[in-house]
Point group: C2
Chain length 415, copies 2
């Protein structure tokens, strides 16, 4: 089953916003077995939208449209859809009630343009928008499904999750799809592929394996397609177990979560606590942990010790160590991690110090030199890494490497 | 002058990666006066690519293609372009030298597939790729310009900046464009528009004003189009000055930079230092500052005091205060900011404590309740804000609000 996505609006075409909606929608559709043929971003222009709709309908059975549903006069998606289907607009009571509700909830005066938002093409089925005033619209015309949704990401996402995906599943004869994701860290895609080549070759035709690499991590996704849900589940689990057993040393999670979330889950379960001492990562690792709900059960906090003064006063790194070996050294990172463990009274600690760049490098310690330490009461591991000259990448790579080291230490000693 | 962007490759269509290239390219082209008509993402499929090229050429004069230039057999952009132009492939010496150089620099063995990367359609001009083995290609056919570039973001960006943009400027008769951006914080788009309505109405036809809003910030961008560069510059500066004077109280920068960078610039110039005490923002504000090169001149560091214990031990918040008023209170945030100022010995400090959610709210302090404090030696400002229930948004909004408060305090007292 093929689908296309059309995003309408000038924000994307002038580069003001990055189109994150399309990737999210594509992934959500892939999950239920619908493939995307093309994604097109077009301007708020009547003729351009009409052409894009007609072209998409030639290639696909499902056409998802986002954007251009606001109350202002440059939002023309609704009228253009009516023109495309050659129908008129009618006021929809459910959509109107929704608009009225939203305005009364915020105690705001409703304008005529807001009331007009409840007008929809007469051949559509309205999809309720719980998070905004623009209704979604579902069309079933000549064997093709068209869905029009707002471009505001959270309005679109709730509409997709609550309404569109379930409706697509019930309207179409889609196969069952069972996904199982294994998160691995610290091993490249081609090396992983080599280690599990025989398992991959032995996969039955109804199970596909995808490698999804991202900065030091590779997610392995098994997808089983078929009619018998229970059978598929068993089979996908069976092959996932084989893969996990084979590459156990690099498996961080057996579900589709990022590594810091896998660490939080593991530590929560074991009742363990964590603190951080970040220098060159500058708070990025803290941010990765604290973006997840419930992180406060594990994460006590940390210090971003950008200056030497803070390394001394908060972490207890010795002045002598800093002077003799420098802030970016094995000795300093060791004192940083042990200082965090001791001063913040956590079970585990992580410390990172390095030269993120673009300036500050020397011949002995070029930009990209990073020392990472992870520690538990009776054990400290230290590692030196050398990255490139790009600041943002150095920060991200340092963070992923530190998480990777912590994950390994946890699996070895986490009790 | 109209352009289209075609991105080739399945990663975007299965939602594995977000297409950030297109927005970046669109913004870069807009800067030189080229408008994007459509952005299309298509699969690694010969016929699909041919159709996309032909459709784009009907609508635009410049067609920029990214992706599908790797060495593996599923990368078919080059062959498809040759087919589209009805020409053969030839080995290009410059492209070959580049491949050989890259392999010898990394001391790696070159395979036949890598050598094949130096083959290009015979009607193209090769664009050197300093950051990778796939050459860029420039075609000038029947009055249309086609440019093919790798999909790897940093390879594409360097190629655009160093080669494609200058070449487009010299090949096409583009008008001069002068941009001037004013960053404002803390005032909504419609209120700003109201305050400068008369200035906006008085703009000459060759100067356009765009409102670019983003989470508590609005960038006002003036763009002047014309033949006389010096005249345009004067005029754009003249109107920018009028706007800045009118809304001076909310102007954070008179150039196109984010607010934390404006703060870093101001503090660097004045030789001032900063420290942070973050609770609910969990390191995010530190991360915003430290992603910028040179931030260590201003930013001494900070603490992510997620636990009460760290608030006490590192910041010196009194146990009694935490027990009596709670961690999310005016009293605690005041002690946090003053503790940071004192313990970290910085000129300025910022503290944030709140309930990011989704759990942890009470009737008196619902999820989204946030206290922010900013301080300089003789002055502490404290503010309570109430956001919604979404954790990620609460973190981001808290950070922007804190930066906004710091910016205001700095402009008032920064010496």
């Amino acid at each position: 089953m093929l689908a296309e996505i059309i995003t309408i609006g000038d924000e994307i075409l002038i580069g003001q916003v990055v189109d994150t909606n399309s990737a999210w929608m594509a992934a959500a559709l892939n999950d239920i077995g619908i493939r995307i043929k093309q994604i097109s971003s077009v301007s708020d222009d009547r003729q351009h939208i009409l052409t894009a709709l007609a072209e998409a309908a030639k290639r696909a059975d499902i056409i998802l449209v986002t954007g251009g549903l606001g109350p202002t006069k440059d939002d023309i998606t609704k009228n253009t859809l009516a023109e495309y289907f050659n129908v008129g607009l009618v006021e929809n009571q459910d959509a109107l009630d929704n608009v009225i509700n939203i305005f009364s909830r915020y105690n705001r005066h409703m304008l005529e343009v807001n009331r007009l938002q409840s007008q929809v093409p007469e051949n559509c089925e309205v999809i309720l928008n719980k998070n905004g005033t623009a209704p979604g619209m579902w069309f079933n015309v000549e064997g093709k499904i068209y869905v029009s949704m707002p471009g505001v990401p959270h309005e679109m996402m709730y509409m997709m999750e609550d309404e569109v995906i379930p409706k697509l599943k019930s309207s179409l004869k889609l196969p069952f799809i069972i996904h199982k994701t294994i998160l691995t860290v610290g091993e490249g895609e081609s090396f992983l592929a080599d280690r599990i080549a025989d398992i991959e070759d032995s996969l039955p035709s109804y199970i596909k394996l995808a490698y999804l690499p991202k900065l030091g991590q590779v997610r392995l996704r098994l997808s089983g397609y078929g009619e018998d849900e229970a059978f598929l589940k068993d089979k996908v689990e069976e092959y996932a177990a084989k893969i996990v057993e084979r590459v156990a040393n690099v498996v961080a999670a057996e579900e589709d979560i990022p590594i810091e979330k896998a660490i939080l889950n593991f530590m929560t379960e074991k009742g363990l606590t964590l603190s951080l001492a970040e220098s060159c990562t500058g708070g990025y690792i803290s941010h990765l942990f604290t973006q997840h709900a419930g992180s406060s059960k594990v994460f006590l906090g940390g210090v971003v010790s950008y200056s030497n003064q803070l390394k001394e006063s908060v972490l207890g790194v010795k002045k002598d160590t800093l002077e003799r070996y420098g802030a970016v050294s094995k000795e300093t990172v060791t004192e940083m991690v042990e200082g965090a463990l001791h001063n913040f009274k956590s079970d585990y600690a992580v410390a990172v110090t390095g030269i993120a760049g673009p300036d500050g490098g020397t011949r002995d310690k070029p930009v990209g030199t990073v020392w990472i330490a992870v520690a538990v009461t009776n054990k400290t591991l230290v590692k030196k890494l050398t990255f490139g000259s790009k600041r943002k990448q150095n920060i991200e790579r340092s963070a992923i490497s530190a998480l990777n080291m912590l994950n390994t230490l946890l699996r070895e000693s986490g009790k």
